[in-house]
Structure formats: C-alpha cells, structure tokens
C-alpha cells in the first residue's frame, strides 16, 4: 500500500491527465448507457399525444401514471411476473441442488467411470443451445408438458456448466476437513451439507444470482414451450404485448419498465456478487 501511495505522489501530473482522459471516455459512454432507460421511463409516463413529437420531448407533461394501470389491465403482467418468479426460483433451487450433489461426487467421491462421465459433461458444454432446442421441444411435446411449469422448469434445471463450476470450486476445499469429519462419523451427505456447501457460499451465491437472472431474462425456450397467455413469462408476455399493441409506445414502455425493475433492484442489492460472479465464472446468463 505504501508503495502505491508513493507512486501516486510521484506520477501526479500524468495521473491528472489520465484521470481527465478516463472521465472524457466514460462520461459520454455512460450517457449512452443510461439514456435508453430514461427514455423508457419518460415515454411510459407520457400521454399518447405527447409520444409522437419531433423533436422528441423528454419531460412528460402531464405525468400519466395511468399508463401503468392500463398496461397491467390489458395484459396480465401480474401473472407473467408470477410465472417468471416461479420458473426462475425453481430452476435456481433445483440447479443448485442437483449440481452441487453431482459436483460433490465428481470432486470428492471415487467411483468407476468418474472421469469418463465428467469428460462427457464437459463435451456437452461445447454444444450450443440451438442444437438441443428442437429435440428438447419434441421430448416436452412427447411427455405432454407443453404449456406447463414442468416444461419451463425441468429442462434448464440440470446444468453441466454449474456442475463443472462447483466441482472446480469443491476441489479447492482441503480434503483434511473431510477426513476429520469422517473420523467423527460423518457421512458423505453430512460432508456435502456441513462442509462443502458452507465453504462455497460465494460460489453458490454467485451461481444462484446468475441462474436466476439468466432464467428471468430467458426468451427462446419459454417462447417455444408455452402458448397460452396464462403460462407466458415476462419476456414472452412482453413480446406478445408488442405484437398486439405495436405502436402504443407509452404502454409498451410501461410494460418494459415493469419487466426491468425487479432485476435492476436485485442488481443494485447484490452488485458485489454480480461482479465477482463474472470474474469467477467468465460466464453470464447463458
């Protein structure tokens, strides 16, 4: 720390230049990043007549909160929201549970064919989602699960990627802990629950947030396996809203705001884990 402070002092002049340069690059960029959100909220509060103006007007006059009520009354956003919540949280719980169990077996237990099986898991990571999309749809259709929560929840709940990630994490936990616990008579299940999981809280939290976020925003799979309005998740519901009310921008933007708000709040609350998660996994919602 002392060394760094010293260099800060030495390099003060170029540092100032660098700082100004950084601001000069970041400030316009952050305007570009924020403007769509502000424009969305602005449009969502406008009266229909004020939406179509050239040049664009930023301040809604009057502020029409009614748009939100109207959006919610013509489209069952509450239902979409509930569906998304049920889907995203079920997938997250199931995925964490099944992946951590399997990862524990891969990292800690000895059995025949372990490495071959693990290699098979790894190999499937290279296969892009669109390849398995159609067969999965056919499986779901064959099982008679189209337009059910089973179709929304089960296929994404078993992730080779999460298994791989957690296995790597479990490998970093010293085996001495396991041995000590076994001497005290602990079973493998105890060790998984009392040692492996608690010591992996950061990885689990990160994985949970990313899985949840990925599911919350997922579009193609829910689009394909649901067809009634009652089973649509928020992104798909929003898309149906779009096709029915194509140019009612004040309503569409109200709907978008409703869809965006929960994840943005979750992000601000759990920001630390988001950033950690990317550096930990190098992967996102996909």
């Amino acid at each position: 720390m002392a060394v760094r402070d010293a260099t800060l002092a030495v390099g003060r002049r170029p540092r100032l230049g660098a700082r100004l340069l950084a601001h000069a690059a970041l400030l316009p960029g952050s305007v570009v990043m924020l403007v769509p959100f502000l424009w969305m909220v602005s449009t969502s509060l406008k009266a229909p007549g004020q939406v179509f103006t050239d040049p664009p007007q930023w301040i809604p006059r009057p502020v029409v909160w009614q748009n939100y009520l109207e959006a919610v009354s013509i489209m069952p956003f509450g239902r979409f929201f509930l569906n998304s919540l049920i889907q995203s949280s079920s997938v997250t719980v199931l995925q964490l549970l099944t992946s951590s169990l399997a990862a524990f077996a891969f990292a800690r237990l000895r059995f025949r064919g372990r490495d071959t099986l693990f290699l098979l898991y790894l190999a499937t990571l290279m296969i892009p989602f669109p390849v398995t999309l159609i067969p999965n749809f056919i499986v779901i259709r064959f099982l008679g699960w189209v337009d059910t929560f089973r179709a929304l929840i089960l296929p994404p709940s078993f992730s080779p990627f999460s298994t791989f990630l957690l296995r790597q994490f479990f490998l970093t936990i010293p085996t001495d802990l396991d041995d000590a616990a076994r001497i005290d008579g602990a079973s493998s299940l105890d060790i998984w629950w009392r040692i492996a999981l608690p010591l992996s809280t950061p990885a689990l939290a990160t994985l949970a947030i990313f899985t949840f976020m990925g599911q919350w925003n997922d579009f193609l799979w829910p689009l394909v396996v649901t067809n009634s309005l009652e089973m649509r998740t928020l992104p798909v519901g929003l898309s149906s809203f779009q096709s029915r009310y194509a140019i009612q921008w004040h309503l569409l933007m109200a709907g978008s705001t409703i869809a965006l708000l929960p994840v943005l709040v979750l992000f601000v609350v759990g920001q630390r884990y988001f950033i950690q998660g990317i550096t930990l996994t190098g992967m996102g919602g996909r």
Partner: protein, 295 residues
C-alpha cells in the same frame, strides 16, 4: 459402493433427458423430414443438400457472419478501453461501473423494445436528435429509417447487442487488469516509458489471455444471436436480419420442418466449432501465458 450414484442420480437423469439424448436425437432428426403431424420420413443427407441449394439460407449465413464480424471486434476493443478507464482511481468509478453494467442485467426483450422505439424513423429518439442537431447547425441531416432498411436494420441490431453486452466483457477485462502486477508499471515508469508505451508493452501482452477468452466467447455468443432480431425487426425487412438461430426457429416452429431446422443447427455448430478451433490454433502467435496466470 452405491453412494456416488445417489449423489449423481438426479443430475444424471436430467443430463441424459435434456442434454445427452437431445444431442443424439438432433443428429438423427437432421436425417429425417418431419412436420410433427405425419410420421417422419428418412431422407439421408437431403436436408443438408437442400440447405446447400437454399439461397435464403445462404443469406441467413451471410447475415450471421456479418453480425459476428461486425460486433465481436468492436466489442473486444470497446470493452478493453472501457476496462482501462474504469481501472483508474477516479471519482465516481463505482457509479460508472454500475452504469455500464446495467444493460447486462436487463431483460433483452425489454431493452430491444426500448431500442425499437429509439430507432423509430419519424418519432424515435435517435433520428429526432440527429435532425434536431442538424437543424441547430443549419444542416439538413437525413438519417436512415433504421429498422425498415435492408441496409441499416442489421447495424441497428448490432448497436443494441453492443449496448447490452459490452459491460459484461468489460468486467472480465477489469478482472484481467487487476491481476497485472503493479511493479511492472513502476519499473517501466522508472525506465521512462510513457503511458502509451506502457499500454502497448505491458497491458496488452499481459491481457492477451483475457483477450483470447473474450474473443472466443463473444464469437460463440454472436453466432447464436436471436432475441435482438426477433423483437426489433422480426428478422426483416426481407430477411435482412434473419440469423441462423432465427432460421432454426422459423423452420421448426413456423414452417414445421423439424429435420431441416436440426440440419441448420448442425451447420451452426460446425461454424462455431470451426471458428473456435481456428482461434485456438492461431492463439500461440499472440497470446502470452504467465506461469502464475491461468489461461
């Protein structure tokens, strides 16, 4: 011992049903003609031959490559520069990081709706602003009708994609930057290296493994683009923004040509695989790995 299989059981059951079996099924499916209603007919490689003759498919492949080559380099360069800027100890850096990451956590569908409105020809924010700025300068600027132009619709999709995802790769770069030992910069400074020289001779080489990762992953994702085009342009106008995944969707779920859709999926996989293998092969020429730095 049965125990390991109890741990693995649930995951393996799901893995076999929803990953392993579909991969095998996708392969055999591509050899059949099937509309989901009548029994499937074995056609051998006919689906692939059909794709080979299909001018629409060639257009779709070209679109996908145009999107990939249009976004990936821009994304790599932008996120590298952003990360370098965000790595400075400046006022408001936490705010900046949050702002650049906001689009990443946003729902793509909602974001695409907003951008569709921004790109609106007559009343959209973008063209409205361009015209207003033009008027103020005494110019008559005539911005394109982005989403209804076969030429500009794809760039619009690219802009949305960059806006949405650049923050993600920026954070990967930030992690890479923070792993560079500070001493290297101090030593270079003592030797009289200016900021550009330090960037060129320390930052870039030390980040090359991160760049490789970002390049490979961004390309893999870019090849699979779908949501952006679906919401903003519905693949149009005149198939100008129909990508390979979009074509899979159309074939399978609009035209009920399951076999052909599966064949497209395999061509897509081949493209991704070839592209990744190519990058793996040429990485030795420019990627430096440190002993203490993981690839």
């Amino acid at each position: 011992m049965l125990e390991p299989y109890l741990f693995l059981g649930p995951n393996i059951a799901g893995f076999l049903t929803f990953t392993a079996f579909p991969v095998v099924a996708a392969f055999s499916l591509s050899l059949f003609r099937w509309d989901l209603l009548t029994p499937p007919v074995y056609v051998g490689a006919e689906n692939f031959a059909e794709l080979w003759r299909d001018a629409q498919f060639r257009r779709v492949v070209a679109n996908t490559f145009w999107f990939t080559f249009g976004t990936v380099p821009a994304r790599v360069v932008l996120s590298l520069l952003l990360a370098v800027a965000l790595n400075q100890r400046i006022r408001g850096v936490v705010f900046y990081r949050t702002v650049y990451f906001l689009p990443v956590v946003s729902s793509l569908v909602a974001a695409a709706l907003v951008w569709q409105w921004i790109f609106n020809d007559s009343f959209g924010l973008l063209n409205g602003t361009i015209r207003a700025v033009g008027n103020a300068l005494g110019l008559r600027l005539n911005p394109p009708d982005w989403l209804n132009s076969t030429r500009w619709a794809m760039p619009a999709v690219m802009i949305l994609n960059l806006w949405k995802n650049v923050g993600f790769t920026t954070v990967i770069y930030l992690a890479g930057l923070q792993a560079i030992p500070q001493e290297l910069y101090e030593a270079a400074e003592v030797d009289g290296a200016g900021p550009l020289a330090r960037f060129r001779h320390i930052t870039l080489p030390m980040l090359s493994s991160t760049t490789f990762f970002v390049l490979v992953m961004s390309a893999i994702w870019a090849f699979q683009v779908f949501d952006e085009a679906f919401i903003m342009t519905r693949g149009g106008p005149a198939f100008a923004t129909t990508t390979m995944v979009y074509y899979i969707y159309l074939n399978a779920f609009k035209w009920f040509r399951m076999g052909k859709a599966a064949a497209v999926a395999w061509v897509l996989f081949a493209c991704i695989f070839a592209f990744t293998a190519l990058q793996m092969r040429y990485q030795r020429r420019w990627v430096h790995y440190e002993a203490d730095q993981e690839g």
